[in-house]
Symmetry: C2
Subunit: 238 residues, 2 copies
């Protein structure tokens, strides 16, 4: 099956390639089948906005393919990106469960596909499948942890360079020799990086220069080579 934007549509959760790894994808067969019934699938082009911060929650989106950025903005235009979501992630869960407005805006960064599950159907599903409700609670507390990481970064990390180092480390694979250069595909603009660490485009640009001069970093097209992980770690304080 072929969709626009050159994607293969995944229309059955039972045979989803990311089924094993994620919240709604690793459940008893009966539950997955039920989920498969109440979801609706759609394909989205780049820059599609799935939902906007402040909207009443209509339901959750399970991202099947593509990346999405979650961000929140102030009225004067300042923006912070709180998360880059990938396939398997569930978007809008907190708002949907608590029936409060979406706390972020979700926007596709590349073409992708998502399953939508309406709020009512989800809540009914959770009431029927009590074991999944606890899983949802666990997912929510994972989200909470991520949020706390962000709070620490924003509140305890004073300098942009430290935040930048932190971000680079979060990108570099955990495993692998610490002293061996790590290669990372970088798909964000300097502007977006700035929105992730709470600084300006210009500062990010200067940070790249600095870090390259200090042999911490190297770029090759859109590939980023992290040359000195231990040195980056030494820059952290939290």
């Amino acid at each position: 099956m072929r969709a626009p934007y050159g994607l293969n549509i995944i229309d059955n959760c039972l045979i989803c390639p990311v089924r094993e790894e994620h919240l709604f994808c690793n459940l008893p067969l009966a539950a997955v089948q039920k989920l498969n019934e109440i979801k609706s699938t759609a394909v989205y082009p780049k820059s599609t906005v799935l939902f906007i911060e402040g909207q009443q929650p209509r339901g959750v989106f399970v991202l099947c393919a593509g990346k999405a950025k979650l961000f929140t903005s102030s009225s004067d235009g300042k923006t912070i990106i709180t998360k880059i979501s990938e396939a398997g992630d569930v978007l809008g869960l907190n708002a949907t469960i608590s029936n409060r407005p979406y706390e972020v805006t979700a926007e596709m960064m590349e073409p992708g596909q998502a399953n939508f599950i309406a709020r009512d159907a989800l809540l009914e599903f959770l009431r029927e499948h009590g074991e999944v409700a606890l899983r949802v609670a666990e997912q929510l507390s994972r989200n909470y942890y991520t949020a706390y990481e962000e709070i620490r970064t924003l509140g305890l990390t004073s300098s942009p360079s430290e935040k930048f180092a932190k971000l680079l480390l979060s990108w570099s694979p955990d495993r692998g020799n610490a002293n061996e250069p790590a290669h990372v595909k970088m798909t964000l603009t300097h502007e977006e990086i700035g929105e992730m660490i709470g600084t300006t485009r210009e500062t990010v640009s200067r940070l790249f220069s600095d870090f390259k001069k200090k042999q911490l970093l190297q770029t090759k097209g859109s590939t980023l080579i992290i040359r000195n992980k231990p040195a980056l770690e030494k820059m952290l304080n939290s």
Copy 2:
């Protein structure tokens, strides 16, 4: 029944004065009775640390009386207070549910009392009482919202004065005539206020001077009088 520190002990959840309002306090009778069995009550003096960020979670604390501050610190000593908890609040829920280290330290700000529920007992209780699990999920998503508020404050609110205005507004009662001065009991030091809005003691002191000069604010002993709420609101950007 009398306890040290001049507090009355509340040893039965069934007759707890805050029973109606909060997570574990507004449940079917059978559930409350079960909770009452698995909890253990203790009284804590000021400055007691209930748990420390990074520790493996032992269980949750239900605060029955007194206030506690939740905060996280970096290794170089910088601290941010993320929440002031009051009677009825459940502390350590996220860590306990997800079995990850406590994400904050909880410290009593005044003498108080708390019920402790061990992790194993709590999880068993939740499995038996499925309806409560969903309530827990709701509570977790409320926590998540609070965390997001904090992220917005830290990330989108640039100037200390704006953050300070935000804090003052969060203290002033929602109801009541907007133009009428609101009286608030202030129990925090400037240092602690600084830790709440991510600035220094000195800056907080100067903010008080400024705001008083601008007729926004007035102090009378430890009572704080917010004189011009609309003007404070106009200072916000998010």
